[in-house]
Symmetry: C2
DNA sequence: TTCATAAATGAACGTTCGTTCATTTCTAGA
DNA sequence: TCTAGAAATGAACGAACGTTCATTTATGAA
């Protein structure tokens, strides 16, 4: 029973969880430190024993959000497959995270824009780029008509996926079903490779 | 020279324009009444000669935003055409409005969510529904494979369109080009009608 | 049982928020 | 030139904001 890790208690996680859920639901600027404290039944000052500012809380939530959605996508891609199946699974994993209203971590990543926190803009953009690289690779491997702009393809897919929290009721449809239908719409009927 | 309309000077428009631009750029909660006033070189109190509250300014901006994007789409649909061409033109008109960083009116409609202003949620949702009805009709007329969920098709299209402000640099690409490419991706190669 | 440490309190700070209002300034018609 | 009405000022209001800190409370190892 030697849980001997020097620092790092489990307590700070509670604050992050609450902040993630509230930021995801109402937006960063609409939530105050007092809101987060009230959610946990503590005093505003208690938060500062673990995080030095509201901005650093957002940074920590954002970081964890990217970590979670990236892990989910990586797990979904573990077994090699047909590129379209891979993209569908990655999309389903992405959706599963951002539609999870109980967590909120991944939702914050798509809801809070760099412009909402100028001092964090660089950090946020870099984390997002690292995550989106997975989809860049995935889409690069897709057999698409030669005239297709793959950057625009990626942005169209992200748009379709990231817009779902706006119109879906929580738990109404399974992420896998939505992902399957979206990918089916974006999938060209057939691509005959140019003869060599 | 009989400009004899009883009330209604042109002045309030200036306040709305500034509010729309700032709300679109930074979000409703991130902008204060003092920000709006500063943008126009006036005192915060001046705003209240024209609008009774920040919420009513948002309501007026939102209403005008819907009016503008709806007008743009209606104008684009004036001449009857092939359904896919109509949808592409409507999408280009929609994009043209929400990508107009100088105006901001239409951007507010897609950036400010009902959850940002609970007291306006009903009003906002109804206006949006009225606007989106145009696309419901347009998409209903599309020859699509029978298994296609047209609601999901509409949401996918809106997602792709409404996500563009996040990734495009202002004026980088023409709205018409983006719309053409997005519609091309969503357009099935061919639909052979079920034989009667 | 003692005690060092971590966690939380509760009160307060300076600032900014949305909003109000008596007063002043501007402007256009008579 | 006078004047009524609209527009804007400038100062202030109470409330809420992010944050600080001396003090109290809880906890786990010795």
């Amino acid at each position: 029973m030697a849980e001997a890790r020097p620092h790092s208690s489990m307590a700070p996680q509670r604050f992050l969880d609450a902040a993630a859920r509230l930021f995801a639901r109402d937006g960063f600027h609409a939530i105050s430190m007092r809101d987060i404290a009230r959610e946990l039944g503590v005093t505003p000052g208690a938060i500062y024993a673990h995080y030095p500012s509201k901005m650093r809380i957002l940074a920590a939530v954002y970081e964890e959000g990217v970590r979670r959605v990236a892990s989910a996508v990586d797990a979904a891609l573990a077994s090699a497959q047909d590129p379209w199946v891979q993209l569908e699974r990655a999309s389903a994993a992405h959706l599963g995270e951002i539609l999870d209203r109980d967590s909120g971590y991944a939702s914050v990543v798509i809801r809070v824009l760099p412009a909402d926190a100028p001092e964090l803009a660089e950090e946020m953009t870099e984390l997002r780029d690292q995550y989106e690289a997975r989809f860049r690779t995935l889409i690069a491997a897709l057999p698409l008509p030669p005239e297709t702009d793959r950057t625009l393809f990626r942005m169209t897919l992200f748009g379709a996926l990231n817009w779902t929290p706006v119109w879906t009721r929580s738990g109404q449809k399974a992420p896998e079903d939505i992902a399957r239908a979206i990918i089916a719409m974006l999938r060209p009927a057939e691509v005959t490779p140019v003869d060599a």
